[in-house]
């Protein structure tokens, strides 16, 4: 593992991800609010679109490269990149160097952004060394975590989100046996193999139904869209939330002076 440069004291360039940009802009604002609360300067490069993962995972590498080049251009000046997604962060960190391995024009830049990209909760806990946001939820809530697969197995994300949410006042974490089980999304898989994906989702929803928590928290809006979409299709409440939204709620209700 390459030693990653410390991101402390540096300006953060937010990679909001295409899904948050278009479907969950409030989650993007949550990220900005939490980082601002920590005194971090946040910048949003307007040239950004998507990391290219949809094409990459589908096998369309030339198309993925076209989109990834736009990412490299947009984040040319970035010192630190933070994304509210383990999956998109993993794309930049693990796959960009592979995607541009044979492209001398972009390989260096691909390796540079790979080394400075962080997932949101990982950035706060491991990058900044902050474990307590001194936030407070207005009412008591119980939470379980869904560890999104790419964050869990490609970036080793597990504790950071739990530490931050667990330290919010009024938040109670519940151990959930289903935390590490895939929800069945898999991008194109959810459409191409819809019935298998649907069966996997069905198992996940059964376990969500059995869990006695107010919300399931995840670090990826792709899994969130999949699980909430399934819950709503069944006529149930969409109770999967992004970690950033809960943290921002806590920060916004923090006691003054903290």
């Amino acid at each position: 593992m390459v030693e990653r440069p410390s991101p402390r004291g540096k300006r953060v360039s937010l990679f909001v991800t295409c899904m948050v940009d278009m479907l969950y802009p409030d989650t993007g604002l949550s990220v900005v609010d939490v980082l601002t609360h920590l005194g971090v300067e946040v910048d949003f490069p307007l040239g950004q679109t998507c990391c290219g993962q949809p094409a990459f995972n589908a096998g369309y590498w030339p198309e993925a490269r076209q989109v990834a080049i736009q990412f490299l251009k947009a984040f040319k000046e970035a010192e630190v990149i933070v994304a509210p997604s383990g999956s998109c962060a993993a794309m930049v960190r693990h796959e960009f160097p592979r995607l541009f391995a044979d492209d001398p024009a972009w390989r260096g830049e691909a390796e540079r952004v790979a080394a400075i990209t962080w997932e949101f909760s990982e950035f706060i806990v491991e990058g900044l060394g902050v474990t307590d946001l001194h936030g407070r939820l207005p009412t008591p809530h119980t939470f379980a975590f869904h560890d999104s697969c790419h964050g869990l197995r490609l970036l080793g994300l597990k504790e950071a989100g739990r530490i931050l949410v667990g330290n919010l006042q009024n938040a109670t974490l519940v151990d959930w046996a289903d935390s590490e089980n895939c929800c069945g999304f898999g991008g194109l898989f959810s459409v191409k193999m819809a019935d298998v994906s649907g069966a996997m989702l069905g198992k996940k929803l059964d376990r969500i139904a059995q869990s006695e928590v107010d919300a399931i928290l995840t670090g990826d809006v792709s899994c969130l869209t999949h699980m909430n979409g399934g819950l709503e299709k069944q006529g149930q409440a969409a109770r999967v939330r992004h970690i950033a939204d809960v943290l921002a709620e806590g920060v916004r209700h923090a006691e003054p002076g903290q």
Binding site: C18, Q66, G229, K233
Partner: protein, 470 residues
């Protein structure tokens, strides 16, 4: 074996609608997964991970030296009195077996479990030549009775419930009715025992070949492999050329991770080394031992970026851990090797065009790599196979057009932002059921809702407001 991998999607559909299969696969994979976790980490996480690292390094070292190790293994096996035959493909391997049977006037054959012989279609070839072939692994025996194929590389009948096994034994083997698994197993044992004694030839697979000693290593739990390799006059082992390891010490490490990963055992009940035919003065053992080393596409994998796939020790842990395998069972994968490792080796061994859905039969969740005792990066290979499929024109026309259009939009922030605004303005008109290939989404989930304003719009509004403040 006939390859039906291109029918993965309809076969998966059948499996999803088979209630018995769902019960059996769900139970079997969960039990396998839990037992593996307990056994692998019985002495702590660090110890288990250290075993995995050692095993991974051993297999990669063996692959790095594969040509030399194979030559060394051949020489040492021959020195032990084992006759070594090479086979380029399954047909040649089966032909070797038939010639051996003729040479030794063998009529009755007993087999222990071997996935390689599934690859070559050996049973069919032997039966077509008039030989009697009996599978003696309990699971394989039931597969043979039911005229099926194994659905799991370690547990061939993982897809069957106890009740369906009982019914099959009653119908096909005339077992006296019983619901007790032990009584069923005893019935099978008593049925098989006289056949071992009467057999002319035993055919086994091989878990490893140890190059420095010229030994064939087998693991089993039922003792049938030991009978197959010692009672008949002739023993023939079918082994893939990738199964060679350098030293006894290497073997000792692998034979610890294999059962832990496969069945959750620290060691299998029988851990068995074959070092040649019966020697003068020995009480038992075959008069002739043959090892058939099968290539069948492995050399091509060896010389490709997918060489890592040959490190596989066929433990089945990735099958048990895979959420797709857990949902579909093994038959949907359409060939010999199901699950994540099957999704890699089936296209590589039988041709990408003959297994186009398999590399896509994964969410890339990474569980396969996490549980692999030799740390094979299966998700990486699935991604690379998808790339190769698309490059060879097997990506699907609709997806190709879609991806090109998407890339055209997403490589320009102007078009991307504009596209977002168009989608947002049309969000009230999003249909309940999405059109074309996207309707798979809305069969199980609500249509995602675009936000009225994108983040980039909100950000710019915020910035504008900030800038106006004194």
């Amino acid at each position: 074996m006939q390859n039906r991998a291109n029918n993965f999607i309809p076969m998966a559909q059948v499996a999803l609608n088979d209630a018995d299969l769902q019960t059996a696969v769900s139970f079997g994979t969960q039990a396998g997964f839990n037992k593996r976790q307990a056994a692998m980490f019985a002495d702590g996480e660090a110890h288990g991970q250290a075993m995995r690292q050692q095993a991974a390094a051993i297999r990669r070292r063996a692959l790095n030296n594969l040509p030399e190790l194979l030559e060394q293994a051949e020489a040492n096996m021959q020195a032990n009195g084992i006759q070594v035959l090479w086979a380029v493909d399954g047909e040649e391997a089966n032909r070797h077996a038939l010639e051996i049977a003729r040479r030794h006037a063998a009529q009755s054959v007993v087999k222990s479990k071997s996935m390689v012989t599934e690859e070559t279609g050996l049973n069919h070839a032997l039966e077509a030549a008039g030989l009697d072939v009996l599978e003696t692994d309990l699971g394989e025996y039931i597969v043979q009775l039911g005229e099926e194929t194994p659905s799991h590389i370690v547990v061939p009948i993982l897809h069957k419930t106890k009740e369906s096994i009982r019914d099959l034994l009653i119908e096909k083997a005339h077992m006296p009715p019983t619901d007790d698994p032990e009584t069923m197993a005893r019935f099978a044992r008593e049925t098989l025992r006289p056949r071992f004694l009467a057999a002319d030839m035993g055919i086994s697979g091989g878990n490893f070949i140890i190059a420095e000693t010229g030994s064939l290593a087998l693991v089993s739990n039922e003792g049938n492999a030991r009978l197959v390799t010692s009672l008949p006059r002739v023993h023939v082992a079918f082994v893939g050329i990738e199964k060679v390891v350098a030293t006894v010490e290497d073997y000792a490490t692998l034979t610890q991770v294999l059962p832990r990963s496969a069945t959750g055992q620290a060691l299998t009940v029988y851990t068995h080394l074959v070092n040649g035919p019966r020697q003068p003065g020995e009480a038992d053992g075959p008069e002739h031992v043959y090892v058939i080393l099968l290539d069948n596409g492995r050399s091509a994998i060896y010389n490709s970026d997918y060489c890592e796939a040959l490190a596989c020790i066929r433990c089945g842990a990735c099958l048990n851990g895979c959420p797709v395998y857990q949902a579909t069972g093994g038959h949907a994968y359409g060939w010999v090797y199901p699950g994540p490792i099957g999704a890699v080796v089936t296209p590589l061994l039988t041709g990408l065009e003959n297994a186009t859905p398999l590399p896509y039969a994964s969410t890339l969740c990474g569980m396969c790599k996490e549980v692999c005792p030799v740390d094979i990066d299966i998700p990486r290979m699935l991604l690379d196979l998808r790339r190769d499929l698309v490059a060879q024109g097997h990506g699907g026309a609709v997806w190709g057009v879609g991806m090109k259009a998407w890339a055209w939009g997403a490589k320009s922030p102007t078009r991307f932002g504009l596209g977002g605004r168009v989608a947002a303005s049309g969000r009230r008109f999003m249909p309940q059921r999405l059109p074309g290939p996207l309707n798979g989404w809305t069969d199980y989930r609500r249509t995602p809702q675009f936000a009225a304003k994108s983040f980039r719009q909100l950000w710019q509004e915020r910035k504008g407001a900030d800038d106006e403040q004194p």
